[in-house]
């Protein structure tokens, strides 16, 4: 029976509507043409699952392929996807508009004028691949393993591209991490080794977040669903945010501390739990490295000297540890916090009581927000997770899980290659603990490097627009003595692609293959992104060799591009690269994309059995469903005994309680994981003894949760080795590396200074990834400066008036929006919007970018608006209906680089002066002095405490690092 007929019967009085067409109808789904209603005109669709590529959440999509036209008409939710469960935010359905975007790049282009001149000629993929393969091959044969760089904005996949780089041997992975999550990662890593949290909101009784996950951020859609469920079953939500986000508005508690004092606020909550014995004593005893702290007498004396602890116990037993905690954290009283943070003491007590009541079902989350905003923002994450440690809600049902408990990355064919150098431009000595590459400093670090990058890929990455100090990037990318060849891998134009040598069109979400696994909830799953037209046409029996044959124009998918490129780099196999790209099923022949994924799926636990039960092969199973859940048995991995294989040869070190194995079992899950921890005899740690029982433990130096981080201590940051926040003037000096650049003591109201929060997202956009999603830009076009009415009155402006926002290196001119939703003394501006292009007909997203012109003289730069977005001719009638003429202001250009000396994070929040616009100022003006940008870079660099660390190392070996090189490359001694 047809769906429609059956549902008509079911829906007598429409009481039983379904959210999505049932799986069995996907091969031939019949719907009624909405435009023909009330006539019921039937249309036939094939529904093919894929995964959204707009934000990192990777929600499931179902592409509706019209069987008559072979067009992807719309993209809706995939009900079989365990994280998104058939639901999507606005960005998911907008994928359909991105595919048909008339402004897309359809063919490979090579510049035919100077860089940035806007002149292009079409070239063939063969030309591109040969040119590229020759250059990369030369770098490899000449041993220049740090001359090839792949700089990725949105990975959207696990391991594929990182593996490619390891097979080439290059230390050439650069990322967007340090303008995003470096500080949160550092804060989490210093506790549990693993650098990402996975809050199990669905089962939480109390949720505490420094984020806006009802509306934005990854993993907004999966998290918002679970937060709603939890709230429905009585859980409460507390949001700490200076801005009244939609999420804060829906929270049970909204705390708005002065920006930069969040870490202090969290310690006050911790202090209350400790003072009132509201912690999980057993959990602390069993799972924190308190012994390491209590036996370090010298450090304890240091704590006393610095008045961090009022007194230091003489004995080293657990009770003494508890009294030490009280002596330290008892000083962070709610009353102290009220004074420091501007949050009421009563509220802090209320929240602390809620946290204590929730116990093991206390979930917390921070990823960017305050952590990404402040100097020392990593301590926000560290102090937040302290609350989980105190309540024993680490890895528990309803608590916060280390992300790797819920992540599965299948083993790739032929494994990984080996990184053959240490790229000092990505991991400079000044930032030994950075998480990870000092990506946003690249223009400055290349200056120091003195020799150019041979090949520089930007992939779904727009550093000119996204990173601070964008003019430094423009200068770098125009300079052929810095970057010899720049290739932009991108589906669409971007500010950065304007300055490329090659612009290489790559597929949108439903036009490419990827596999990924994310920490959306308490489940270990993989999602499968696929080119849906290829999957559909293959199902019809067509032979398709490469994905671009079913994509528009000559739009490739990256993965086939990497395979082809790698093959051409080493066609004979003499470099040892080719073997990684040979089929595991047809020895000696080039692997196909289907074989690659078949191999992955065959190495995913349970997937072969699940497919067999449906009488399908693993690839077909995933092509038809788009996602697979490996297990929901994910809680408390640290409590589990190591596997029998791991224990077989293991020896116990009675002093440390570590279990060492000379021959640990090979891993089957290629998730990012800290370590390995190895001893001098080359044995690998496979577990820790807890109360005499072997446990998996945590991947930290102690195998426990580290209240005392020996890593921070040993790498020159002893004053920051505990979860901490300065209380006294002396401590503010001692701990200046965690005193925010916008801390209230550093803001002079009389000078019209404000803290600018430049990082909040709009629910319907995602950085510059939503390019071409016309429906989304119809929803949001401008990014005014939010200002409290009190401050607006002081400056003498009202909504719509222009102000000058001035940083240390320049200013922009934007209009204000007066609103009570921002704290007095603080202004905010969304980092979405403000896109620009240099050319009338291309250069950025035509749907919402403004045409600008740039004036320059020595270090001086000025960007001026020529005109805002407007109608443009195309084959899409909607492009003639663009009614908005204001595309916002590009604020990041005026931000100097502010690298956190510990985490390496760009500290986004800015100390700015906000004043009425001056005579001659025009809307969207951006004026910058690059020399002042250089000065700021130098000042922030002076805060660092460079490597070498203990043992002459560049970086603690155990810390996570992409393309982790062999241990000997960590040592500075050998060079």
């Amino acid at each position: 029976m047809k769906t429609s007929k059956r549902n008509e019967e079911q829906n007598e009085g429409f009481g039983h509507l379904e959210s999505s067409p049932p799986f069995e109808d996907w091969t031939d789904f019949v719907d009624y043409d909405p435009a023909s209603w009330p006539r019921r005109v039937e249309r036939h669709f094939s529904l093919v699952p894929t995964v959204c590529f707009n934000c990192e959440a990777g929600c499931g999509l179902l592409a509706y392929i019209n069987k008559d036209t072979l067009e992807i008409e719309r993209t809706e939710g995939n009900p079989l996807h365990m994280a998104s469960r058939g639901r999507n935010c606005a960005k998911g359905p907008a994928t359909a508009a991105q595919i048909k975007n008339p402004d897309r790049i359809l063919y490979p282009l090579r510049r035919s004028g100077p860089r940035g001149s806007g002149k292009w000629e079409r070239v063939s993929w063969d030309q591109v691949l040969d040119d590229l393969a020759g250059r990369i091959r030369q770098c490899i044969t000449e041993g220049r393993f740090d001359d090839v760089v792949y700089h990725v904005g949105r990975p959207g996949e696990d391991l594929f591209t990182e593996r490619v780089l390891t097979t080439w041997g290059v230390d050439g992975h650069n990322s967007h991490t340090n303008v995003c999550s470096a500080s949160a990662r550092t804060g989490y890593a210093m506790w549990m080794g693993i650098d990402r949290p996975n809050p199990d909101h669905a089962n939480g009784r109390f949720m505490l977040m420094l984020s806006a996950h009802f509306e934005s951020g990854h993993y907004m859609n999966p998290h918002a669903q679970r937060m709603t469920e939890a709230k429905e079953s009585g859980a409460k939500l507390c949001v700490i945010d200076t801005r009244l986000s939609n999420t804060a508005a829906k929270a049970d508690y909204w705390l708005s501390p002065w920006p930069g004092t969040e870490a202090g606020l969290l310690l006050a909550i911790a202090g209350y739990l400790i003072q009132n014995d509201l912690y999980d004593r057993e959990f602390l005893r069993r799972w924190t490295n308190w012994q390491e702290l209590m036996t370090n007498r010298q450090y304890l004396e240091f704590l006393k000297e610095q008045e961090i602890a009022t007194e230091v116990p003489q004995s080293a037993d657990f009770d003494s540890f508890i009294s030490l905690l009280k002596s330290i954290y008892g000083q962070y009283t709610p009353e102290w916090a009220e004074k420091e943070t501007g949050t009421s003491a009563t509220d802090i007590v209320t929240i602390a009581e809620e946290v204590a009541r929730a116990g093991h079902a206390f979930s917390s989350h921070v990823w960017r927000s305050a952590a990404a905003g402040h100097l020392g923002g990593w301590m926000v994450a560290r102090n937040l997770f302290f609350l989980n440690v105190l309540t024993g809600s680490v890895g528990t049902r309803g608590g916060t899980l280390p992300n790797s408990y819920t992540k599965f990355v299948p083993e790739p064919p032929h494994g990984l290659g080996t990184t053959r150098t240490w790229n000092e431009t990505h991991f400079p000595l000044a930032y030994p603990l950075a998480h990870f590459e000092m990506s946003f400093l690249l223009p400055y670090l290349l200056e120091k490097r003195g020799r150019p990058l041979e090949v520089y890929f930007t992939r779904v990455h727009n550093p000119i627009w996204t990173n601070p100090d964008g003019f430094a990037w423009i200068d770098m990318l125009r300079d052929e003595s810095k970057v010899k060849l720049h290739l932009a891998l991108t589906p669409v134009w971007s500010e950065t692609a304007q300055y490329a040598d090659y612009v290489l069109p790559m597929g949108e979400g439903p036009e490419r293959h990827d596999v990924h696994s994310y920490e959306t909830h308490a489940s270990q799953w993989i999602g499968f992104r696929q080119p849906v037209l290829r999957a559909y046409r293959e199902r019809l029996g067509e032979q398709i060799d490469l994905t671009y044959q079913t994509n528009p124009g000559e739009v490739w998918e990256e993965n086939e591009f990497w395979i082809e490129l790698s093959w051409r780099i080493d066609p004979t196999g003499e470099l040892g690269i080719r073997r990684f790209y040979e089929s595991p099923y047809r020895p000696g022949e080039k692997i196909t994309i289907h074989e690659y994924y078949r191999y992955l799926f065959e190495h995913t636990p349970g997937l072969s059995e699940a497919a067999a039960a449906e009488d399908e092969d693993v690839l077909t199973y995933m092509q038809r469903r788009g996602a697979y859940e490996i297990t929901t048995d994910v809680y408390e991995e640290h409590e589990r005994a190591p596997s029998d294989a791991a224990l077989r040869n293991a020896e116990i070190d009675s002093e440390t309680g570590f279990l060492w194995s000379p021959a640990p079992p090979a891993r089957s899950n290629f998730r990012p994981f800290p370590g390995p921890f190895q001893d001098n005899e080359g044995r690998t740690r496979v577990g820790v003894l807890v109360d005499g029982a072997p446990k998996t433990g945590f991947p930290t130096p102690s195998g426990k949760l580290e209240i005392f981080s020996s890593t921070l201590h040993d790498w020159s940051w002893p004053e920051l080795a505990l979860p901490i926040y300065p209380r006294t003037d002396a401590q503010f000096t001692l701990m200046s590396a965690i005193v925010s650049q916008v801390h209230h003591s550093r803001i002079d109201k009389e000078r019209s200074e404000y803290a600018l929060l430049p990082t909040f997202r709009l629910p319907s956009l995602i950085h510059t990834r939503t390019n071409g999603a016309k429906w989304l830009y119809e929803m949001a076009q401008q990014n005014p400066v939010w200002i409290n009415p009190e401050d607006a009155a002081r400056i003498g402006v009202d909504s719509g008036d222009l102000v000058r926002v001035e940083s240390d290196m320049g200013h922009f001119v934007d209009k204000v929006w007066t609103t009570e939703a921002i704290r007095p003394g603080v202004v905010a501006c969304s980092h979405h919007l403000g896109r620009w292009r240099l050319f009338e007909d291309h250069g950025s997203d035509l749907w919402n970018s403004s045409l600008v012109e740039i004036e320059e003289q020595d270090g001086f730069r000025r960007m001026r608006l020529v005109h805002g977005p407007g109608p443009f001719p195309s084959n899409d009638a909607d492009s003639s209906r663009i009614w908005w003429s204001d595309g916002g202001v590009h604020q990041n250009l005026i931000f100097p680089v502010q690298a956190d000396p510990v985490s390496g994070q760009h500290c986004w929040h800015q100390k700015v002066r906000v004043t009425k616009a001056e005579v001659g100022d025009r809307y969207a003006d951006v004026v910058v002095d690059r020399n002042k940008g250089q000065l700021a870079y130098d000042n922030w660099l002076a805060l660092t405490r460079p490597a070498p660390g203990p043992g002459g190392m560049r970086r603690p070996y155990w810390l996570l690092r992409p393309l982790k090189p062999p241990r000997d490359l960590y040592s500075l001694a050998q060079h």
């Binding site: 429409f14 009481g15 379904e18 009624y32």
Partner: protein, 412 residues
């Protein structure tokens, strides 16, 4: 569109037709939830059969505290909000500020009051956290103009046959040229009406498939009937046949009045526009129509040359009707504005963005009455024509201000 209290109706640019959400009927027919329900991450929207007490939607409504938008409009909405804040439901709440493309580069010297009215050229305030798309005002100058030309057309052939029937002899030339002028303005009225339709061909639908409860359809038929009368009246005048004229005069008057006044009811039916709900509106339209007719005749008098008798009667009619209509229009001042929406609109009309055309219009209308009186007292005939010009200009200005101010209230 102008009538909708929710600003929920829009023109689909693909087919130039008015559309609104139909709860994805094509999906419901197919057993699927509406798209907004299916997609929502937090499952904030529930759809179902309100008549089925067992349905999820009925249970949710019985548990929560459901409210609707603008219940006072008697639209019996079937979209309910549970535990919604007043601020999110009422777009005129003072906490809601709009920041639209229209405000981006405005005159920064304007006073805050002026600015507030200025930003309301859109009929939609943005929600708290959005900066929003301005919804286009559906009725522009063409509607003001149509109202004005119609008043002249109807007024001419309201005043002339009335004079004829009460036995004031003004000569056949007046009747003939009056009918010609009326026909001209009626033609303009029709042209404006049709051009205002985004889908001009839809005009025939109104006549062929009338919705009799709609003042738009009723008005179309009244205008058509009146147009026939104008033709016959003109013909009788051309033939100088007083018998026929006497026969035609009655239906002409009978149709001229509702032709003039139906617009008041049309505005009144626009439930979303509180300013237009004034009970004085039909009286105002009647007085304005009489005055417009008299004013047009006073101006026409210059061209035709006036007999003493007709000049005085017409000027007297103008003086009285212009005075009355100015008074009625000015009474907006004294009228209570019981709802926030009507206060918002009245504020825009009397003090805000539309104050200038509103006040200029009222002053000129009054000047029409004053000059007409002066003309009568002094016997200076040209002054009557001046009075007529003043009144007609004032009428247009005020009508335009009134129509625009009515639409200035954000509806969503």
């Amino acid at each position: 569109m102008a009538a909708c209290p929710y600003d929920a109706i829009y023109i689909n640019p693909d087919n130039n037709s008015a559309e609104k959400c139909n709860f994805c009927t094509h999906r419901i027919d197919n057993g699927l939830e509406p798209a907004c329900v299916a997609v929502c991450p937090t499952q904030a929207i529930i759809v179902g059969d309100l008549n089925d007490p067992a349905s999820e939607v009925a249970r949710a409504l019985s548990k929560g505290k459901p409210t609707v938008r603008r219940p006072e409009k008697d639209t019996a909405p079937k979209v309910f909000y549970i535990n919604a804040s007043e601020i999110t439901l009422d777009s005129t709440q003072p906490q809601r500020r709009t920041l639209t493309a229209t405000t981006q580069l405005e005159d920064k010297t304007a006073s805050p009051d002026k600015k507030r009215a200025a930003s309301s050229t859109s009929s939609a305030a943005a929600a708290i956290l959005a900066y929003g798309r301005p919804h286009v005002v559906p009725w522009d100058w063409r509607v003001s103009c149509y109202s004005w030309t119609k008043a002249i057309a109807a007024g001419l052939l309201l005043v002339l046959p009335s004079l004829f029937l009460v036995g004031v002899d003004i000569g056949m030339a007046w009747h003939l040229w009056g009918a010609v002028l009326s026909a001209l303005f009626l033609g303009l009225t029709g042209a404006l009406l049709i051009s205002d339709l985004t889908h001009p061909r839809r005009f025939f639908y109104i006549l062929l498939r009338p919705q009799w409860r709609s003042w738009l359809a009723r008005g179309a038929f009244l205008i058509t009937g009146f147009a026939i009368c104008v033709g016959l009246y003109g013909l009788a005048a051309l033939l100088k046949d007083e018998t026929i004229l006497a026969i035609v005069a009655w239906p002409t008057i009978i149709l001229a009045v509702p032709t003039a006044v139906y617009t008041a009811f049309l505005f009144g039916a626009s439930k979303g526009r509180d300013l237009w709900q004034s009970p004085l509106l039909p009286a105002l339209y009647t007085a304005e129509t009489v005055a417009a007719g008299a004013a047009a005749l006073a101006v026409l008098g210059i061209a035709l040359g006036t007999g003493d008798m007709s000049y005085e009667v017409i000027t007297a009619v103008l003086a009285v009707s212009a005075g009355v209509s100015t008074l009625l229009a000015g009474s907006e001042f004294l009228m209570p504005h019981p709802t926030r929406q009507s206060r918002f609109a009245a504020d825009a009309l009397l003090r805000g963005k539309f104050a200038l055309p509103c006040w200029a219009g009222l002053v000129m209308s009054l000047a029409g009455a004053v000059f007409a009186t002066a003309s009568l007292l002094s016997g200076a005939a040209p002054l009557a024509a001046v009075a007529g010009l003043f009144f007609l200009t004032g009428l247009y200005a005020h009508t335009h201000a009134f129509i625009q101010a009515g639409q200035s209230v954000p509806q969503s």
